[in-house]
Symmetry: C2
Amino acid sequence: MVKESKIINVAVIGVSQRGLGLIDCLNNMDDVRVTVVCDLYEDRMENASNAILEKCGYKPSCCKDYREVVQRKDVDCVIISTAWSAHINIAIASMKAGKPVGMEVGGAYSIQECWDLVKVKEETGVEFMMLENCCYGREELTVLNMVKQGLFGEIIHCQGGYQHDLRSEIAMGLENRHYRFRNYQHRNGEVYPTHELGPIAKYLDINRGNRFLTLTSMASKARGLREWIIRNKGPEHEHAKIEFTQGDIVTTMIKCAHGETILLIHDTTLPRVYSRGGRVQGTKGIWMEDKSAVYIEGISPYETWEPFENYLEKYEHPLWVEFRKTGVQGGHGGMDFLVLRAFVESVKNNTPPPIDVYDAATWMTVTCLSEESIAMGSIPVAFPDFTNGKWINREEEKPSKYALSKVFYECF
Amino acid sequence: MVKESKIINVAVIGVSQRGLGLIDCLNNMDDVRVTVVCDLYEDRMENASNAILEKCGYKPSCCKDYREVVQRKDVDCVIISTAWSAHINIAIASMKAGKPVGMEVGGAYSIQECWDLVKVKEETGVEFMMLENCCYGREELTVLNMVKQGLFGEIIHCQGGYQHDLRSEIAMGLENRHYRFRNYQHRNGEVYPTHELGPIAKYLDINRGNRFLTLTSMASKARGLREWIIRNKGPEHEHAKIEFTQGDIVTTMIKCAHGETILLIHDTTLPRVYSRGGRVQGTKGIWMEDKSAVYIEGISPYETWEPFENYLEKYEHPLWVEFRKTGVQGGHGGMDFLVLRAFVESVKNNTPPPIDVYDAATWMTVTCLSEESIAMGSIPVAFPDFTNGKWINREEEKPSKYALSKVFYECF
């Protein structure tokens, strides 16, 4: 395995928009070298290669076949930012080749592929991390800190959403090879649950003394995307005829082993202002992202919202205090950098990553479970226990397992 | 039936806090006389009687038995503001005695009692109105106006909640004979759905060309009320031992015949700031009560919320424009007055009320359906069609049926 002082050679597989963003982040790390870029499209590899040349003064290898990439000697670990449907196959190939994996977010297509991912991780012992950047958001980590310090009392209910008007991006689908286009044309479910669910899972100690039991999903009719295409490309455009299956609003309710409930909203094909709509409610207080406000009984003035800012000062997560001191960098307000550092440090120190394969399987499986629930008329469906019972005792193992560094140990 | 010029004699049955509020409103109406007050408790009747004496200079009759009240010659119509569980029986007795009914809000205990209510209305032909005041809220009616004018495009999704910290009120339960106490001790469901669902049903033309098809509910654990009792009355208090069954947060998803989805949140036993959490989303825009904001594609600056105030000026409902001219009065910011006027005018003119027995049955049944769904592990349950098919054609009948007055005709 790689030593702590050594430079880590990274292959980035999938170098469309998201891959480029990650490369941009990695280029700024002294202990990382992107040696290989991989994509099905030559133009994308060319872009990525040029970005690295421009920033770092060298050209990485370009390789179309991920199966070759994971075998290369100049690759210590792999970052996967392809279309959703390729994530798990590539991750499995990489682990089987002994290469630790940092995998971008997305939802699963079947429960089985999540089991496969878990099994290969367990059999190979090669580390796997899901790169859920929102777990490292400043607001999310501050709220986590407030949760862990008991400010909200016993946690009862959490909410979140991926509420992001992606119509213009998706509708360019076939032109820009955007994988959402095909997904929205054929699927109907909570296709992108992890940005909001990741932080919530950390608030609720999921897979570490708690777990998701069941979910129920409901989808609205699908109108937004088609109406946008007709309005913007005209009723005669070939895409104007497509009947999308993906409901404009998909609502999902999750029940946890300790009686907490979670509400998720997927909302990407109607006009709106971006929001992850976070909410945490406990027996002592509530945080509400859409109001950027907090109410804590006995602290806040009676039935009056306080600005979140008041709490940010006092409860900002140590990681973010440190981050701001050393200089915030990287995409999405810094959280891309933090999640990539967690992965890189996990690889360098050969320690378990803070968002592991059980987290990934559990969060990703929301997608296929929600499709099943909707298809069956919003029936409740059960979550598999991907830990096979280990979640009951994992809480106590946390300190030793998560000692990536002083700062990262304290993170979740 | 009563003539338009005549003074309406009203009996108010149930004169606890809510009944007193309604009486206060009625006392200000020249064409209304509260002739009878009815309650199981003498002290409540005494309070109500004194309030009327003080304001209007006469004492109403006090009568403990509603069966006598509905037979009295000095009663033209009945207003019911008792505990939830008595609403429908009293309404049925009143209609059978030929007396039109204005019934306060609440949820149903069974589907059957909703059918009974509908059947008696149909058999007797006596008018029935549910007094859902929130349908007359200034913000709600403005949003309705925006919906009907197509500002949001095709409506896809609506949200609302009864999010009201009632812990201190409920926990005084046995002392102040608050019926919620016993309900929370034994039930688990969306026990109070109509304040948010009523306005949403009007946005979506429910029972008038659209209908609720199914719902699925999920309840969190119940912690808030007991923790409040322990903190405020001490762990030795007799109520501190009670294991409440009513989950702190109950989430309900409803699917409509035309593919719209509705999300309801019941949240009354955790600390928070009051909110009905309204949201309307269509293919052209969104309204979000918690931000008091609107975003309309092509009108609002790109991906930027506008204050709701901007739209209130332009789209305020004609009823409210009129109301503000003549002077806003009555509880809950004026909506109590408006809903009572709608009822009184319906009685005077012998015209169908704007919130009728089908609305009431449909909205109230959410409660027992949600209890069933939760008890069965969040299964989807089907709404009965209380109109027996009439909802398909009722839309076209609207103009003649809802011509209470120029203003009220335009209302929904």
